[in-house]
């Protein structure tokens, strides 16, 4: 094992929660904290250890504290942030060019909307899907869909009976999305769910 890069809190970012993806010959990832404003970053690192902080989240409409991996689709990177400055919950979905130019596709947190994504996105048949640990009409978490245009919809709001607090990505199997919740179900030990959009 050889360390190829040691991060500095600013500007690189700190707290590497999510994994890396390989994209255009380099590795891309997110940090939960650190960066210019302390709200996390998106970074790029080459196999030789040359690292660039591509973007520092501001905690505003772009969100704060990304916890998930990125997904690369048609030459752009897509990801989530879990929160906004000064709050737990809400967060955003963003897309980013390889050079670090960001577009916010959706801000979570409207009444009944999903809130607090703690994982990245899954891309299937032209649409992105994800889970949030909070939000939905019951505040227990949700499964959402979002188009590259930014049009977002809630596919499912969890109830105590069918699951609470999904915190990871869904996996697509033949058009059905499968995932887990950390709580809920009977006897509140977590569940496996299936959503067919």
């Amino acid at each position: 094992m050889q360390r190829i890069r040691r991060f500095q809190n600013n500007p690189d970012g700190a707290t590497l929660v999510a994994g890396l993806i390989r994209f255009k010959g380099a590795l891309y990832g997110t940090t939960e904290n650190g960066g210019t404003d302390g709200y996390g970053t998106v970074f790029k690192v080459t196999s030789s250890g040359r690292e660039s902080a591509l973007y520092s989240f501001t905690g505003g409409s772009d969100g704060a504290y990304p916890l998930g991996s990125l997904v690369a689709v048609k030459g752009e990177l897509y990801g989530t942030t879990s929160s906004n400055a000064g709050s737990r919950g809400a967060g955003s979905v963003f897309k980013m060019t390889p050079s670090g130019s960001i577009t916010v596709l959706h801000q979570f947190g409207a009444s009944g909307d999903a809130s607090d994504p703690q994982a990245g996105l899954t891309y299937a048949r032209g649409t992105f899907y994800g889970t949030t640990a909070e939000g939905g009409i019951n505040g227990l978490g949700a499964v959402f869909a979002i188009e590259a245009s930014g049009a977002e919809s809630v596919l499912h709001s969890f109830t105590e009976a069918d699951g609470e607090q999904p915190k990871d990505v869904v996996v697509d199997v033949n058009g059905t999305l499968y995932g887990t919740t950390q709580g809920g179900g009977n006897p509140s030990q977590g569940t496996v769910f299936a959503v067919t959009p």
């Binding site: 919809s153 915190k167 499968y178 887990t180 179900g185 977590g190 299936a194 959009p197």
Partner: protein
């Protein structure tokens, strides 16, 4: 933030704590149509985690 109503949702398994485990912290992976995952605690003796698998059919079967 429209709610999409034409969505089919199913809670296909509730972890029981023992012997199958509880509190899955991570997601699932698909291996040729069978899903595999982990639980963070529970299982026999409640001392650790387990690996489970599910075959997504009308009657899912779990093997903990």
């Amino acid at each position: 933030m429209p709610v999409r109503n034409s969505v089919s949702f199913a809670s296909i398994y509730s972890f029981q704590g023992a012997p199958d485990g509880s509190i899955p912290e991570a997601g699932l992976i698909d291996v040729n149509g069978t899903l595999y995952g982990t639980t963070s605690t529970g299982g026999t003796g409640c001392s650790g985690s387990g690996v489970s698998k599910i075959t997504p059919t009308a009657q899912p079967s779990w093997r903990a």
